[in-house]
């Protein structure tokens, strides 16, 4: 009788609690859906990044005399693979050469980045040689690794097949791709223009300046555009994809900087391919002609030329 009472009481409490469990479950699912599907924030899961106020301290003021005459604004993709193929492989070759030429390669102190490259070489040896415990044991020692990579390292260059394996090994550890936006400025450093590089041909009214356009700036900043007034914000660096990036790794920051440098190099390549320097020259000629004509109406043109052309124009003017 007593058992029946207990069973009944338990069944009653279960039937009383069951709707509550259901309700809690529905609420939890609804919250998760609202949070992750509709991105509505309830403050239960919240991440806030903030900066403490710090001052800007002046380090240096430098007088410059540059004339920016062309700008390129571009967007590029920079990946770890590009960086590894373009920079890390030659760096590995230099490192191997240095270690092989050292009488005591085991005693050479390596930077964390160099250590990563050497580990990449070890990984590539194992990848090509198969997962053999004796091979792994031998390759772990620096001298053993150097001995084993020697056949793959002829004329100070790694074998293309080995390079492929090395790239794959380095990418297994970590990978990243950035979308980057920045600007390249080209123009002339007026401080380099002296009397000997200036020639005014009175007969033709031309001024020749011996100067070559140079790259004055190539910047990819955290923000490409930051304009609160117009509500226009465009990031400089945007992460497209990443894997295995742990900021606590000793060489993680160097790796990130190297990939960013790759982005900057690509931006510069694009700018040069588009004709930035040529535009800088023509634009400077137009600007200087217009400016000089304000002060001297007899001037017909200002030409920015290389050393050979400068000498030729000077001789031609003297011959007139």
């Amino acid at each position: 009788m007593k058992d029946t009472h207990t069973r009944l009481a338990s069944r009653r409490s279960r039937s009383f609690l069951q709707p509550l469990f259901w309700l809690a479950g529905i609420v939890a699912v609804a919250l998760l859906v609202l949070k992750f599907v509709f991105a509505i924030d309830f403050g239960f899961f919240k991440t806030t990044l903030s900066l403490r106020a710090t001052a800007l301290t002046l380090e240096d003021i430098k007088a410059v005399e540059t004339l920016v005459t062309a700008e390129y604004f571009g967007e590029v993709i920079g990946t770890a693979r590009d960086y590894i193929v373009r920079r890390a492989v030659p760096d590995t070759e230099k490192l191997l050469l240095r270690l092989m030429n050292d009488p005591n390669p085991a005693g050479v102190v390596l930077t964390p980045f160099e250590e990563t490259l050497l580990n990449g070489v070890r990984g590539a040896i194992v990848r090509r040689g198969g997962m053999n415990p004796r091979l792994v044991e031998r390759v772990t020692e620096r001298t053993g690794a150097l001995d084993m990579v020697k056949p793959e390292f002829q004329n100070n260059h790694l074998d293309p097949g080995f390079i492929e394996a090395l790239v794959e090994v380095l990418l297994i550890k970590r990978d990243i791709a950035y979308l980057a936006r920045g600007a390249v400025q080209a123009g002339y450093d007026l401080a380099k223009l002296d009397e000997t590089k200036y020639f005014h041909c009175r007969q033709s009214g031309t001024i020749d300046l011996q100067a070559e356009p140079t790259i004055l700036a190539k910047d990819i900043n955290p923000w490409f555009i930051y304009d609160p007034a117009a509500q226009n914000y465009v990031k400089g660096f945007e992460i497209i994809a990443q894997s295995g990036i742990d900021l606590e790794d000793d060489d993680a920051l160097d790796f990130i900087k190297a990939v960013k440098e790759e982005c900057r190099q690509r931006l510069l390549d694009d700018a040069l391919r588009t004709g930035l320097k040529e535009r800088a020259r023509t634009s400077a000629e137009e600007t200087l002609t217009a400016l000089f004509r304000i002060f001297d109406q007899t001037i017909t043109a200002v030409r920015l030329v290389g050393a050979d052309e400068f000498a030729r124009h000077k001789a031609a003017c003297a011959g007139k």
Binding site: F73, A183, I225, L247
Partner: protein, 196 residues
Amino acid sequence: MKKAAWAILAAIVLILAQSGCAPADPKITLLNRLKSASKLAAVKFTFNKIIWGEKEKRIFIKLKNASFLATSKVQITAGIDLSKVKAGDVEISRRSVKIKLPPVEIIAYSYPFEKIQVDRNYTANRFLNPIRLEDMEEFLRLADADVRKSLDGLGLRRKAEDNTRTLLTRILTKFGFESVDLDFSPGGPLAFTAYE
């Protein structure tokens, strides 16, 4: 039923047509282009900025804050835009010249990533609250925004005007002018808009 289906189809077509005719995003036209310029840079400032960030995370309860500390450098180049000097701004009488110059502006702004040094001793992950790469990038953006907001209060204008005056006076005396009088037009707050 058929009418309803036609109405839905028409609505979809309208929506697609509208998205097809959307005005071009100004950001698209901004990139991958070459532009002529004529900016005379006269001074370059280098500033140091400490980036001290905190990451607050809440998973029902507030977790311990993770911290980020780094030092960085900002390089700002200032000068004038020569294309804004018009013939009417120049008065020449014999061996003296008077020019009304456009206001000083920021010609180049650089927050170089290679000069950002993260302090590993004070950059600390916490349980369930690590500093990830995307957090670091966001801290850098916050710092960049902070610098840009304070550009007008750094006293760049006076120094840039002085240097521009010195440079132009030197150039103009080479043209044979004995007296050079340079005046700057009043400008708005200094901001970096050169790339926009």
